[in-house]
Amino acid sequence: MCPPLSDAHGLPPSSGVQQPLPLAFVHGEALIEKPEDLYIPPDALEVILESFEGPLDLLLYLIRKQKFDILTLPVLQITRQYMEYVELMLELKLELAAEYLLMAAILAEIKSRLLLPKRPDADQDEEDPRAELIRRLQEYELIKKAAGEMDALPRLERDLFAASAQTSDSVAPIRILPTVTLHELALSFQDVLKRAAAFEHHHIKKEALSTRERMSRILDVIRGREFVPFAQLFSVEEGRAGVVVTFLAVLELVKESLIDLVQAEPYADIHVKAKLAERD
């Protein structure tokens, strides 16, 4: 539900930018009271009543409709009319926001204060009880007007459409590649060497006898030979660590299908044979 905006004078929706509600208006004026000679379907009345944005909006409408001046705010008449509308809303079982009843209370309070005779010793500076309500009504009217003007501003999708063109086929996103300086490159090299050095310092044996290296060496040893006795791959001088690395290298080579292990019969010597087909 989007009720039309009223015009700048606070009269409910005449010919705003948005669509007026046809049944609810006559000569640009909302038909709230049931005129004697015109039947308004209850639905339309509901729509009209629902179109108020709150108690301030309703009050403003009543004031403007009666051509009252906000500044003099005839509280007695306005309160009576306001209550009539609120009762109508209750009668139609409209979901009445608590704000409407709060406003009714405020109006009643202002009314009673105005009716009370002023005591002679009363503070001369005592504020007019209507002042706060008048200020609020003025402020609300201003924002209502601003909203109306904002709605009338030309805007995208409704009044304006962004104009665009396609790029020709050869337009392609450019990726700016990171820059690298020679200094960075040298430092990186230095870093990696330092790290490798530190690594070797702590694990010097492991590194010297690295599996990969041993794999290459084993392949080198068996190259061009038919069968190499398994034991020949090991050298005692390297000690336990060396034996382990060689063994791991052999397993790795088998796994990568670079060599075959051959045993003629159980408990016979194991021989190592290069998988020639795999080479080159």
Partner: protein
């Protein structure tokens, strides 16, 4: 391309504004298509002015909105152009427009302050819709109990309404209380 002729510059700037996804500011033009071409700000402004004149009599116009330059259709053509789309342009309820107007004119503002002026509560749905459209954003929190969010409008809001700054909103002066005026000015200086 160390040097670029005026004719080439105009073609380049024109094409860039047309193919870019959103409005293009002069800064953005300098950082992208004009990069390394050494086009002075003065020369660029002159070219933009020329383009604006070139299109004045055409069906689309070069306009400057908050986030930069864009081409847009003449608003008098809207009734015919809108037939290109099946759906109608979205309409906004009075509640939404009044909330938006309050945020635009009184920013930064809290939800409570909006409710005080409107005399009714502001639904979360409205705040959510305005945020999702990218028209409003939270710019801070008010140092009062509950630290409510302070809302302000965005450049996208100005772009949507084809405005280049908040000052172009109708009747700005009436709405601005002195201290807010100062804030607004500060805000503009930041942009």
């Amino acid at each position: 391309m160390a040097k670029i002729s005026d004719a080439q510059l105009k073609q380049l700037v024109e094409a860039a504004i047309f193919v870019a996804e959103g409005p293009l500011s002069e800064e953005k033009l300098q950082e992208t298509v004009l990069l390394d071409l050494g086009v002075s700000g003065k020369r660029l402004s002159a070219i933009l002015k020329e383009l604006e004149l070139d299109y004045r009599a055409r069906g689309i116009q070069l306009v400057k909105v908050a986030s930069g330059y864009r081409f847009q259709s003449m608003d008098s053509l809207a009734p015919w152009l809108s037939k290109l789309w099946q759906e109608q342009a979205p309409r906004y309820s009075r509640a939404m427009l009044e909330t938006l107007a309050l945020i635009a004119y009184r920013q930064p503002i809290t939800r409570g302050e909006i409710e005080d002026v409107r005399g009714v509560s502001v639904s979360s749905h409205i705040i959510k819709t305005l945020s999702e459209r990218g028209w409003i954003k939270t710019v801070g929190h008010k140092e009062v109990p509950g630290r409510p969010a302070l809302y302000a409008t965005t450049k996208a809001f100005l772009d949507y309404f084809s405005l280049s700054s908040l000052e172009e909103l109708p009747d700005m002066q009436e709405f601005i209380a002195p201290e807010q005026d100062k804030l607004l000015q500060q805000d503009n200086e930041l942009h």
